[in-house]
């Protein structure tokens, strides 16, 4: 294995000087015989070392270390304000870490933000656009297209709402449109922030099914959650005292 140091990824800028991303190329990736693998998921490994986060002066967490490889899920739990969302924001390159390092091992040249989907509290949907237009935009923007927007909406049970402006949808339906974004572009790492909130029982089952399929096809998942998710084996990372 050959390791090469790459500059901090493009979406972080100067604030991210504490996090180093390392790239390890693997030359055997093409030989892995898995069907419909999330692109670049084979051989993806993320190692987090001694991560610390400070927000408005307060040290939210420190000394956080974990690693995540292909097909693995990590559930981040902890009380409100323990830093679950902050951890996801750091992984997404949205927030600068106070200290620590994130190492990424993967085939190809992508930066960490280009490898992940983030579905958080802010759903990144434009109310004036229809569900289908929102997803079509995300598909063109993120690259590596997978399902068509219509198929993705059908997969989350919103096939009939494709032509409706998102403004007319309920909170749970909006959340499902945001989750459908996971399906329109293929990305190995899913960052989900309390994915079950506002979802009814049927939709939660649908979501668990999507997550299980993602993991079994070699994807990675980091989810901030208050309860256990029935998605098979998952490790738990407990934040806070």
């Amino acid at each position: 294995m050959r390791a090469r140091r790459i500059p901090r990824h493009s979406a972080r800028g100067a604030a991210g000087r504490d996090i180093d991303h390392f790239l390890t190329r693997r030359y055997t990736v093409e030989a892995v015989p898995i069907l419909r693998l999330p692109q670049g998921a084979a051989g993806v490994r993320i190692e987090v070392e001694n991560l610390a986060c400070r927000r408005s002066g307060r040290l939210v967490f420190q000394g956080l270390s974990f690693s995540l490889a292909t097909g693995e899920a990590l559930l981040v739990t902890g009380r409100n304000g323990a830093g679950k969302s902050s951890l996801l924001a750091i992984l997404a390159g949205r927030l600068a870490a106070e200290a620590g390092a994130i190492w990424v091992e993967r085939p190809g040249e992508r930066t960490l933000p280009e490898m992940l989907h983030l579905v958080g509290h802010r759903d990144a949907l434009k109310s004036a656009l229809t569900a289908q237009e929102n997803l079509a935009f995300a598909r063109d923007l993120l690259g590596d297209p997978d399902l068509s927007p219509r198929d993705a909406l059908a997969a989350v049970g919103l096939g009939q709402a494709a032509e409706l402006p998102v403004a007319y949808l309920s909170a749970g339906q909006r959340r499902r449109v945001a989750l459908a974004r996971l399906l329109v572009a293929r990305r190995p790492l899913w960052l989900l922030d309390e994915p079950t909130s506002t979802l009814d029982a049927t939709s939660q089952e649908m979501l668990f099914g999507l997550i299980r399929a993602h993991l079994s096809s070699g994807g990675l998942l980091v989810a901030a959650t208050h309860g256990p998710l029935p998605i098979g084996s998952a490790r738990e990372l407990r934040l806070g005292r």
Partner: protein, 222 residues
């Protein structure tokens, strides 16, 4: 990457058309300002046609500021900026795409309607042509300069008035050369080309500096 770039422009244009805020509102403001001037100055046609280009340019500068504060703030509030950050598109190109869409929705209509509104201030045909040409060449500079202010204030709630305070001083050179080029076309000692080329240069420089500045501001704000 081209696909993502074009998709972003198309989305912003579609949003502008559907929400109807920026484009139409900017034109209405432009019209209001130009209509008020003859009432304030009195019906002296010679005076009006002499200061006509200046009035249209002033109106254009102020109208450009409308909606500018929402350029990145709207995306910041609903999380779209996180989505844009995780696209393969560098933030610089995100800024360029959004500025192009914003200019097509506001700056371009301003320039195209300038001859019509010029009638209100008794502009001569030569003056109308010159004003339109200078607005076409100069409004991109206004939008690119404004983008820096918009990016800096993207995380500030109710930052509406801060953007004008930040960017208006930087727009003054564009205003000076825009008005002097338009006036030169009405006659005078300066040829039209000299200030007009300066204006185009300002637009090109603003396109580079504004893009870099806005992208840096977006990275820095979190």
């Amino acid at each position: 990457m081209t696909r993502a770039f074009l998709a972003l422009i198309a989305r912003d244009l579609r949003l502008a058309a559907r929400i109807g805020g920026s484009g139409a509102l900017v034109l209405v403001f432009f019209l209001m300002f130009v209509t008020l001037v003859p009432f304030a100055l009195g019906p002296d046609l010679n005076l009006l046609s002499r200061i006509g280009p200046a009035i249209l340019w002033l109106a254009a500068v102020l109208a450009t500021l409308i909606g500018l504060d929402r350029l990145f703030q709207a995306d910041e509030e609903d999380g779209s900026l996180d989505l844009l950050r995780s696209s393969p598109l560098p933030l610089e190109l995100v800024v360029v795409a959004k500025v192009i869409a914003h200019w097509l929705a506001t700056g371009l209509p301003l320039a195209l309607f300038a001859p019509l509104f010029g009638l209100l201030v008794a502009l001569t045909p030569a003056g109308m042509a010159a004003t339109t040409a200078t607005l076409l060449a100069g409004t991109p500079a206004l939008t690119f300069i404004g983008a820096v202010g918009a990016a800096l204030t993207s995380t500030i709630r109710r930052g509406g008035l801060i953007v004008p305070i930040l960017v208006l001083p930087l727009m003054i050179p564009t205003l000076i050369f825009g008005v002097s080029a338009a006036n030169a076309a009405l006659g005078g000692t300066v040829p039209f080309v000299a200030p007009f080329l300066m204006l185009t240069a300002l637009s090109l420089a603003a396109a580079v500096i504004g893009t870099m500045g806005a992208a840096a501001a977006l990275r820095w704000s979190e």
